[in-house]
Symmetry: C2
């Protein structure tokens, strides 16, 4: 009875002002309020949020290490604008993390998350809610990676997906990008459930190649 309680320990750690500021900025960036490439002024933001410049700078450091901000000395912080090389690398990491995940026998709760993400995506698609499809898709892959049963890998994936969201913001047509993956996720789920891990791995590789090509193309139509 007391054992369960220990799960709530993380919540106890109240957060510092800097962390709360970072939360606000992280949200604004991921929703696109601050756009990739945009410079974030220390003075105006510290004024708007009513925190000191020093505190704001601590928040900037936090987000910088999450890959969301780019800190250029004496020039300020900018919302990260991933390059085509960054996109390629992000997908290379996904191939490793998701590839390893798909070859493992999934734990039951993780599998449930995977199913739920597929359902959510299908329902959002039926509503023409492509933002919702994107969110569900992200949850799908987060759940997939959790098969590895490693908190550090889960955290790395969270950061990776946050960085990828920056990339999605440069896509002008979210539907064309997200729509094909609704069915793909359903198919991949089926292969995983039936234990055909090698086929699932092959399908996943094709899946990632396709997505990467689409994004790279958006960056540089000539490639």
């Amino acid at each position: 009875m007391v054992a369960d309680l220990s799960q709530d320990r993380p919540r106890l750690g109240r957060s510092s002002t800097a962390e709360r500021v970072a939360d606000v900025l992280r949200g604004r960036i991921s929703e696109g309020y601050f756009q990739p490439g945009q410079r974030l002024s220390e003075e105006s933001i510290s004024e708007a949020l009513e925190v000191s410049r020093n505190t704001l700078r601590e928040a900037f450091r936090l987000l910088g290490h999450e890959g969301l901000l780019d800190h250029r000395l004496n020039r300020g912080v900018f919302v990260r604008l991933p390059s085509a090389e960054d996109v390629a690398d992000l997908y290379q990491v996904r191939r490793v993390l998701e590839g390893a995940a798909v070859r493992r026998a999934p734990a039951e709760p993780a599998l449930a998350l995977l199913k739920q993400a597929v359902l959510d995506a299908e329902q959002a698609a039926a509503r023409d809610d492509w933002q919702g499809v994107g969110t569900a898709n992200i949850r799908f892959h987060q759940a997939l990676v959790s098969f590895n049963q490693s908190p550090r890998i889960d955290e790395a994936m969270r950061q990776l997906l946050a960085e990828l969201r920056l990339v999605f913001h440069v896509m002008e047509n979210p539907r064309a990008f997200h729509e094909p993956f609704v069915d793909r996720n359903r198919t991949l789920l089926g292969l995983i459930e039936s234990g055909e891990s090698e086929q699932a791995a092959a399908y996943l590789d094709d899946y990632l190649d396709h997505a990467e090509r689409l994004l790279i193309h958006a960056y540089d139509p000539d490639r």
Copy 2:
């Protein structure tokens, strides 16, 4: 002619005071001058290094995100003391990253690094230089992971190994821990060179299981 020059652009980025302070602290931690669990006082360190508390705190943030420091609100920063669960997770990550690496056909320069690391380890062992063996061993695994050809994975591995170094500091007998891996690395290299990737993967898994058990045992002899 001017095009080549742009490659040197990264070098131009001078480092801020906070980054240089972080470099100093990182070195001290990895060499064991600051020991795991020890608290780092803002006042005494900022005084000794002649930087302001604010700047020092920025350096603390940097190292905190690298997993070397543990920041507890209103209590200060402590050199991270990984738990047994942390060790298990670190090895879980290694299984994924190194497992994926060993299944790939290595690029030539990366293979050369691998060979060199094996030679260095053998020479250091002949000199009874177990610290040197540990360093060479780390380079071996860093090179192995580079087969994945991903800068982000390389960086993640760097941080992981830095965290593992903290764990090594609690080992009282470095020879007993490092010695067996000299031959193991040689064997693994052979399997990789001859392209027997599945056998190499199996050997690596056993390799990692063994190392993990040894470390966990050092933490809690009852397990």
